[in-house]
């Protein structure tokens, strides 16, 4: 029986942009800055589409939580091959303070509502680098998880997932329904093309609010300040090993 997949996509600052911290340290500059689908989410979408092409999946639903601009990101997911999209609208201050736990609750609620067999997410978003959402979704749903996937094989409602870990790689077998998060080497995503962008405009996109899903998105953490990392100091040259040793002693390093 072909499965149904829910893919989460986040609209984040494009990875090629040089991020600037606001002068009042309250955040980073997002006005007029290029945004695009989080690269790990592109990989997740690609994997979902490939499962559909292999006829392992019968439907791919794309989900994004945020302001109206998220619909652009969802249209891209539709252009890449997703069948329909769900936009959970969160705006303004609520969106600024939207944190992984709240997002996980939203994703879990949609996963239950849509009765999907697999939740595919990027392993982390490149703006906050949290790497929490996939794991928390699994926890909230009491589903098994296989994160940092570099290879996914699905047969008979079971997923065999190779994961990249510090010591090398590890293969897990999980029963569906499950949560899988994508790592960099899972696949190389396709680019959208004009005919599919046109087709995507006609695919269904549903809008809902956190209240519709019965989720309280109140934040649990407060962001105190944002700062750039310290500027790199110039190095210095020493003439010989003795000078190196005395300089290290001077700095109290040895």
């Amino acid at each position: 029986m072909a499965i149904r997949i829910l893919v989460g996509v986040k609209r984040a600052i494009d990875y090629a942009v040089k991020v600037q911290v606001k002068t009042d340290k309250s955040g980073v500059v997002t006005e007029g800055v290029k945004h695009s689908m989080n690269p790990f989410d592109e990989i997740a979408v690609e994997e979902a589409i490939r499962l559909k092409e292999k006829k392992v999946a019968q439907e791919v639903i794309a989900l994004s939580c945020g302001p109206a601009q998220c619909q652009e990101t969802l249209r891209t997911a539709l252009a890449l091959g997703a069948d329909r999209a769900i936009h959970v609208e969160v705006t303004g201050k609520d969106y600024e303070m939207l944190q992984p736990l709240a997002i996980s609750k939203l994703i879990a609620a949609v996963a239950k509502k849509e009765n999907v067999d697999l939740v595919l997410l990027g392993k982390l978003a490149i703006d906050d680098d949290s790497n929490q959402t996939g794991q928390m979704v699994a926890g909230l749903l009491s589903w098994p998880q296989a994160v940092f996937a570099s290879k996914v094989d699905i047969k008979d409602k079971t997923a065999e997932v190779m994961r990249e870990i510090d010591g090398g790689s590890e293969t897990l077998r999980v029963k569906l329904p499950a949560v899988i998060t994508s790592d960099l080497r899972l696949n190389q995503p396709r680019f959208a093309n004009l005919p599919s962008i046109q087709k995507a405009k006609k695919k269904p996109m549903a809008k809902m609010s956190p209240k519709d899903l019965g989720v309280d998105i109140k934040p649990h953490q407060e962001y105190l300040s944002y700062e750039e990392p310290p500027k790199r100091q110039g190095g210095g040259r020493v003439a010989n090993v003795d000078e190196l040793i005395s300089k290290l002693k001077e700095k109290g390093l040895i």
């Binding site: 695009s36 689908m37 252009a79 696949n187 093309n193 962008i197």
Partner: protein, 500 residues
């Protein structure tokens, strides 16, 4: 080779000129910092060394100062300043050129001589390398109009990444991640020229800083129309001028639709003649092939070793077709039939992104794979381009000459355009080998001219092909180019001693 008069001087004179040159170099740094900002000027040894060479084997002569321009205004002021002091300017994109275009134009033979006179250039004041890589903004993308405008320092990959969600691409692919300004300046081409054209067909408008610092737009101050009959075709005057007529600061480029379906195929043949004949047949069948690349067996072997592949070590064609889901298979089938009629041993094809990317990565690394055949060597690439019907004869000539001159030269080529490269592997310190390579290159170029071809299909003239250019155009043609150079850069400060 250029005619150079070397004047020897007494020791004290040499010391005087050394100190004068150093002193003037410091003044240069101070003045340029006033224009471009402290962080944007460098005369440190490593920065100058980096900007003194590109990917060619031409050993470099370093500039005195490197300036990193941040805006067209910077470029204009820097040019005005250099013009006032008769200081040569060499523009720099990414340093991935193959003809020494972005080096101070003194031949490598003269590196040991410190002082010389070339024509009208007075006592050497060194030169300024103008690095445009920090002008890396994508100014606008207009998906409905299929065009975009970028600063010169934007690289090809950066542009394609930026527009990836529009369904459009900039398919000119010279093999390296070159800057778009550099690609305009050298009229770059690459593996997809057979379907999408070269830079000449894809540049709509340029912003250029001229030798007196004035700024022009070559196709109208705001022009973005797909076609125009307004005035002289200045855009294509500046495409390919290699920084000798002006410095390109912005380009408006045509974008193309990303194909819905892509099919890549590999077909090894029993000999190169069959492979080349198959190419000619495919081109003459009218199939809109997107890429058709030839690798000879030496090149395949090198790629196998370098990229850890296991391709059959035989003359091989790599093909790619772009189309829609409902016609891509048919294109592949037609190509397969054609190749089989020339007795290809296999016809393997892929449609998946990852596998196709692997295939082309091997081809992109070809020049490094060739150099890796003999560690410590450098590759000198020939670049002849001939009418398709002359291609089989040309490759035969190329291979025979390699045997005759006892040179190692794997061959790779954009055979759909009649363009191929012999990567001659040389030890730059072996003067005798360098001389044989030189002889080979000239023989190949002359044969190309004999069969109505050109001496350089895509890499440009730079330093090494200036003499051949005269043969290709004849005196009247060259004089026309010189007249244009004289009109646009009478002081000869823009990348002197390149091209003509």
């Amino acid at each position: 080779m250029n005619l150079i008069k070397v004047r020897t001087t007494s020791i004290s004179n040499i010391l005087h000129k050394l100190t004068y040159r150093y002193a003037s170099s410091q003044a240069l740094v101070t003045d340029l910092k006033a224009i471009a900002g402290n962080e944007n000027v460098s005369n440190s040894a490593s920065v100058r060394e980096q900007h003194g060479h590109d990917e060619s084997y031409h050993a470099g002569h370093e500039p005195d100062v490197v300036v990193f321009a941040q805006s067209t205004d910077h470029v204009s002021q820097i040019v005005k300043y250099c013009a006032s002091k008769h200081i040569p300017i060499i523009p720099w994109g990414t340093g991935t050129g193959l003809e020494g275009t972005d080096k101070l134009g003194f031949t490598y033979f003269l590196l040991n001589c410190i002082f010389f006179h070339i024509g009208g250039v007075t006592a050497p004041k060194g030169g300024v390398c103008l690095n445009l890589s920090r002008m890396d903004k994508i100014i606008s993308v207009n998906p409905e109009d299929f065009d975009c405008t970028v600063q010169a320092g934007v690289t090809r990959n950066a542009l394609n990444t930026f527009i990836r969600d529009t369904g459009l691409q900039f398919p000119i692919d010279p093999g390296a991640n070159a800057s778009l300004g550099g690609m305009c300046a050298t009229s770059a081409s690459g593996t997809m020229a057979v379907k999408y054209g070269t830079m000449r067909e894809n540049v709509m408008n340029l912003e250029v800083v001229l030798a007196d610092g004035s700024i022009i737009k070559t196709s109208g101050l705001k022009g973005r129309s797909r076609k125009t009959s307004a005035g002289y075709n200045l855009t294509n005057l500046f495409v390919g001028q290699e920084g000798t007529l002006g410095i390109i600061t912005e380009a408006t480029l045509k974008l193309h639709a990303t194909p819905e379906a892509v099919l890549a195929a590999v077909a090894p043949f029993k000999d190169f003649q069959s492979a080349v004949d198959a190419t000619v047949a495919i081109m003459q069948s009218g199939l809109p092939v997107a890429r058709i690349e030839f690798l000879d067996e030496k090149m395949v072997d090198a790629c196998n070793r370098f990229s850890k592949l296991s391709l059959d070590v035989l003359p091989t064609l790599f093909l790619e077709f772009h189309g829609s889901n409902n016609n891509i298979e048919m294109q592949g089938q037609l190509a397969e039939e054609t190749c089989k009629s020339f007795e290809c041993l296999k016809f393997n094809y892929e449609t998946e992104t990852d596998k196709r990317a692997d295939l082309w990565k091997a081809r992109h690394n070809a020049i490094y794979a060739a150099q890796a055949l003999r560690p410590g060597s450098k590759a000198y690439s020939t670049d002849v381009c001939v009418p398709i019907s002359a291609l089989p004869g040309m490759i035969t000539f190329a291979k025979d000459a390699l045997k005759r001159l006892n040179l190692l030269g794997p061959i790779v080529g954009h055979v759909g355009d009649g363009n191929f490269h012999v990567f001659l592997i040389i030890d730059p310190k072996n003067a005798e080998e360098v001389e044989r390579v030189h002889e080979y290159s000239i023989a190949l170029a002359k044969e190309s001219l004999r069969v109505n071809g050109t001496v350089t299909g895509e890499h440009g003239v730079g330093i090494g092909k200036k003499q051949l250019l005269i043969e290709e155009f004849g005196p009247a043609g060259i004089n026309t180019m010189k007249a244009i150079k004289q009109a646009l850069d009478p002081l000869n400060i823009l990348n002197p001693d390149k091209v003509i």
